[in-house]
Amino acid sequence: MEATRQHFSSDIGVMLGRSMRHILRSMDTIITVTIMPIAFMLLFVYVFGGAIQTGTDHYVNYLLPGILLIAIASGTSYTAYRLFMDVQRGIFERFHSMPIARSAALWGHVLTSLVSNAISVVIIILVALIMGFRSSAGVLSWLAVAGILALFTLALTWIAAIAGLSAKSADGVSAFSYPIIFLPFISSAFVPTESMPSGVRAFAENQPVTSIVETIRALLSDQPVGHDIWVALAWCAGIMLAAYIFAMRVYKKRT
């Protein structure tokens, strides 16, 4: 028991190295989690953007937070897929019959999700900079943005873990992510909610993505975040905690 605890972080490091190789060797993953969000960004800025009135000087400044959330949502769907494959292929059984902590395999996937999503977020921000994105935010604001994105990633990763551990087929495993990828479209991520019909607007203004997007946008443009940041944090922390508890329960039952 002592030995397994002592090696916990190095074991997770090995698991991280393994899944990062999986990502870098899968063209499909790289395209979906980085190139697709960038394509969205290009499309919205250079095709639709001219017709969208947001009140900001450059539409990419308005759009970027929503694009980042879409990238993270599609990134976590691959976490679910990798988890599912590990359970299916029996590699988890091998890990579990070895003298390493039982949860190391699962935490390895969670850490991979954080690291890989951080990489795609950085790449997307770099592309946005080339497209004209500018931020007046200071170091603290950037740290706050990183923290909120990390929390959002963790919340979705634990939902992904539930999906990956309980799915019956490889096709069904990433289905959970479609509604999440779609949520930013019915929020203030692309257009201000004022132009929406009242029913849609009520939904858009009260679903988690809007508060997260508004908070990140305010932080990046050096505006006061208001109470949005607390609503955003509450959503992320609440979802993360509930999903974590449920995922752990499924993990213990399933493996």
């Binding site: 090995v14 393994r18 190789r21 292929r89 029996g90 590699i91 091998r94 019959s97 070895m98 493996t255």
Partner: protein, 253 residues
């Protein structure tokens, strides 16, 4: 007590309504090859999973290398290795990366060296840097077993190690199993092929409808049947013998 690698008494396990194990007793001597025979769905894999600490039994006791599987699973895991029914290898990694990964998880000091030695021993050096997805069934199984040998566990579980392999690959696996036992490792294998048990095992147990219905050495099991009659028959080569003869000749050329 100490010369037993595995002691199982009255082992019970149910999946919902299905009573799979109804009181299984098994004893395996240290350093021997033990074969658990049974048809599909007899519960062989369930027994392996309980002994490898992946499943909890509903009743009875099981000790592996002197450690109770329910009370001291960590000590059990230190001393065993499991090669599951379907080769538990990472297809996206190369053979070498698979071995290094397991060596690191066993916290060995020189994972690269361990990997090189095993690649060499299992004839996988040429394929070492190819992704496992490109391996044949036999190569996969060899890699799978090689991964299980890392850290030199005292006891190795092989759950249907030759199911789905072609005859040549099967004979290769048999050779590996024999070498393991010669090196002092205890081997617990399950199989549905009578011939495999006959070829390899020191002790054989037959699992049927949740119980061990017969057990012992091959000679003891043969005694359970009426004495052999002497008959004169013309011995035709089996299709497998023909196949191996042809393939063997080809390789010599």
């Amino acid at each position: 007590m100490q010369d037993k690698a595995i002691q199982v008494k009255g082992l019970q396990k149910s999946y919902k309504q299905l009573h799979v194990l109804k009181g299984v007793d098994i004893e395996v001597e240290k350093g021997s090859i033990f074969a658990l025979l049974g048809s599909n769905g007899a519960g062989k894999t369930t027994i392996v999973k309980i002994l490898a600490t992946l499943l909890k039994p509903d009743g009875g006791t099981a000790t592996v290398n002197g450690f109770d599987v329910a009370a001291m699973p960590d000590s059990v895991r230190q001393s065993i290795s499991l090669t599951g029914q379907f080769a538990a290898v990472d297809e996206i990694l190369t053979g070498r990366e698979n071995l290094i990964m397991i060596a690191k998880l066993r916290h060995l000091t020189n994972p690269r060296q361990v990997a090189d030695d095993l690649l060499n021993r299992f004839g996988l050096t040429d394929a070492a840097d190819r992704r496992v997805a490109t391996y044949s069934g036999g190569m996969r199984r060899r890699l799978d077993i090689a991964m299980s040998l890392i850290g030199k566990p005292q006891l190795i579980f092989l759950d249907e190690p030759t199911t789905g392999l072609d005859p040549e690959a099967r004979i290769e696996v048999w050779k590996i199993v024999k070498e393991l036992a010669e090196g002092g490792t205890t081997v617990f294998l399950t199989t549905q092929y009578l011939e495999e048990a006959e070829q390899l095992a020191d002790q054989i147990a037959i699992l049927h409808e949740g119980r061990i219905i017969a057990g012992g050495t091959l000679a003891e099991l043969k005694k359970l049947f009426p004495p052999a009659k002497v008959e004169y028959v013309e011995k035709q080569p089996t299709l497998e013998e023909i196949f191996l003869a042809i393939v063997g000749k080809k390789e010599e050329k």
